[in-house]
């Protein structure tokens, strides 16, 4: 079994618990001392940093949520002065406001380390050529994978996302051995390769690391067959650090959480009660070493469960199951977070538009996620001319695309054709096969 840092990844379980306790104590103290938000929160809960002696005490700490990021926008949760921050990343929040995260030089080093372990778990070494097709920019995927691959000493092709023809050309010409991208893009690459008659079995490409959106075992089989590689699942979220929070080994049965840096819990999303291993609930992470942005018991809204059985690979880190769903209505489309509330607020701004809409996500044709927004026409939109309707349609598309950062389609439908349900309206139809 491949292992990038066996000293840490396969350390003694007791030693790991001791290390986690020590780091948790430091993190809580640092957060309390340097972030007014945490000081207020812990004071209100009647918890002093001294009350946290080990990870057993973690449930005393109040949760941190996505809303806390929104209220602290942009830098309110930072625990160090901006002079010590060397980078920021961001992802979309529920109301259009970005979730902004900062990194110190050491945070970047930790991130590189956990991404090196991630890529190393699939056998990536100095001899590899890593084609990194995650998007570079505020999105954590591109630079996260990049720094991990560089730390290993592999050759990185920072090709970023898109331009499929060029991706396949470079894959053939440069002899890429490792691929990093979203799983839906991997499927798309496989289909285009087949169309172009590229014999993937003759290329040196060997393994791929796929994340940033939910996928399934059937997608894994499809990617492995079409690209002739091993396909490994990786997990992370911007708030915690980005990709590298958890990663699969070649056993391909759950993702090892980098527990020396991130402490995982699973809680009942309704009550917040901690759930035992094997029981499905909401993933909660506490960062153990982050300097710029320590996170205490962050509610990810991702549904999973913990598997604490030993793994054949020898890693001490517990595994989380691949993400099974969300506690909120967030969708991940082509790696981009989409909240129905964002779409609603755009529609409300457009004159003559009713806030009756349906979000349809599909992955059939070409296998890239397709986002279609159905909007009910209102009397204000209809005249005797089609071009007026087309103008409204274009405007909705332009505004949604600029807010979401995703290309999409809009379909105008007759009034009252989108189902109204009692209480919470059904806003999302996800036709992607994300089952297990």
């Amino acid at each position: 079994m491949y292992c990038w840092n066996a000293d840490v990844e396969c350390m003694d379980a007791g030693e790991l618990r001791r290390l986690q306790g020590e780091r948790l104590r430091e993190t809580v103290k640092r957060a309390y001392d340097n972030v007014p938000f945490y000081r207020k929160k812990l004071d209100a809960a009647g918890v002093a940093p001294g009350d946290i002696a080990s990870t057993d005490d973690i449930t005393k700490i109040p949760f941190t949520t996505k809303e806390d990021f929104r209220e602290s926008y942009p830098f309110g949760l930072f625990a160090v002065p901006l002079q010590q921050i060397v980078r920021v990343h961001a992802s979309s929040g529920t109301t259009g406001k970005q979730i902004v995260v900062g990194y110190t030089r050491n945070d970047i080093e930790v991130w590189s380390e956990v991404m090196a372990r991630t890529l190393g778990a699939g056998g990536t070494t100095t001899g590899d050529i890593v084609q990194n097709a995650y998007g570079y920019g505020l999105f954590t995927g591109g630079l996260g994978a990049h720094y991990g691959a560089e730390k290993i000493g592999a050759l990185v092709i920072p090709i970023s996302g898109g331009n499929t023809k060029r991706q396949l050309q470079i894959m053939q010409d440069f002899g890429s051995t490792v691929l990093c991208c979203t799983p839906s893009y991997a499927i798309f690459l496989g289909e285009v390769a087949a169309e172009q008659g590229i014999e993937m079995s003759k290329l040196p490409l060997r393994v791929g690391f796929f994340g940033a959106e939910p996928w399934s075992e059937s997608m894994r089989r499809q990617i492995e067959q079409s690209l002739h590689i091993d396909a490994l699942d990786i997990y992370g979220l911007t708030e915690v650090i980005g990709p590298g929070v958890a990663y699969e080994c070649m056993g391909k049965s759950g993702l090892h959480v980098a527990e020396d840096h991130f402490f995982p819990e699973v809680v009942d999303p309704a009550t917040g009660e901690e759930l035992p291993p094997g029981e499905k609930g909401e993933l909660v992470f506490t960062t153990l070493t982050k300097e710029a942005l320590p996170l205490l018991r962050y509610r990810t809204r991702d549904i999973s469960f913990i598997n604490d059985n030993p793994c054949t690979c020898g890693r001490v880190f517990r595994r989380m199951n691949r993400v099974l769903g969300r506690t909120d209505d967030m969708l991940i489309v082509r790696g981009v977070n989409v909240f129905p509330s964002q779409i609603e607020s755009v529609l409300m701004e457009i004159e003559g538009t009713e806030p009756h809409y349906l979000i349809v996500v599909d992955r059939e044709e070409g296998s890239l996620d397709e986002l279609e927004i159905w909007v009910e026409v209102s009397p204000g939109m209809v005249s005797d001319e089609v071009r007026r309707l087309e103008a409204v349609e274009k405007r909705i598309i332009a505004e949604l695309e600029s807010v979401l950062g995703l290309s999409l389609k809009v379909r105008l439908v007759e009034p009252k054709t989108i189902a109204r349900s009692e209480g919470k309206a059904k806003r999302v139809v996800d036709r992607r096969d994300l089952g297990q």
């Binding site: 026409v377 009397p379 209809v382 005249s383 005797d384 089609v386 309707l389 087309e390 007759e414 009034p415």
Partner: protein, 143 residues
């Protein structure tokens, strides 16, 4: 001088046009002319009916989105070049025809064509100046 036209938004799915015609028939409303402008996903059904106010109410109650527009019903000589003469009058004045479609029924030796022209007042003046007869709603429905 102007005639009321109603436009109905229809999704491109089977049975929707039938729903419109059935609703109108149930209320004794007669469709005198119609045209459909369509895209891949939807269409606009434009109609001249004998009772536009009632038609609008009936269709709105049935859940359709309806718009009302004023158009011109123009007598066109029913011979080669008849339509061309009218279009020449309009283009000489730089007036733009948004769309047009034929009316079922005749006015003596003339065919009747429904025109949507912008700006409409200028079009009326130009056509009258050219000796073209424009029918009122009452005249149209009396045919």
């Amino acid at each position: 001088m102007k005639v009321n036209q109603i436009s109905v938004f229809l999704e491109n799915k089977s049975g929707r046009l039938a729903d419109v015609t059935r609703s109108l028939a149930d209320h004794g409303i007669n469709i005198r002319a119609l045209s459909i402008a369509d895209t891949i996903d939807y269409g606009l059904l434009r109609m001249i009916v004998n009772d536009p106010e009632n038609a609008r109410k009936v269709l709105t109650d049935e859940g359709f989105t309806v718009a009302q527009t004023e158009v011109l019903a123009i007598e066109v000589p029913d011979r080669p070049g008849g339509l061309g003469g009218i279009i020449d009058i309009l283009s000489a004045k730089g007036l733009n025809i948004e769309y047009m479609y034929a009316f079922v029924g005749r006015s003596g030796e003339h065919a009747i064509v429904i025109f949507r022209i912008e700006p409409v007042e200028e079009a009326i003046a130009a056509l009258k100046g050219g000796g073209v007869r424009i029918l009122t709603g009452d005249e149209l429905h009396a045919l």
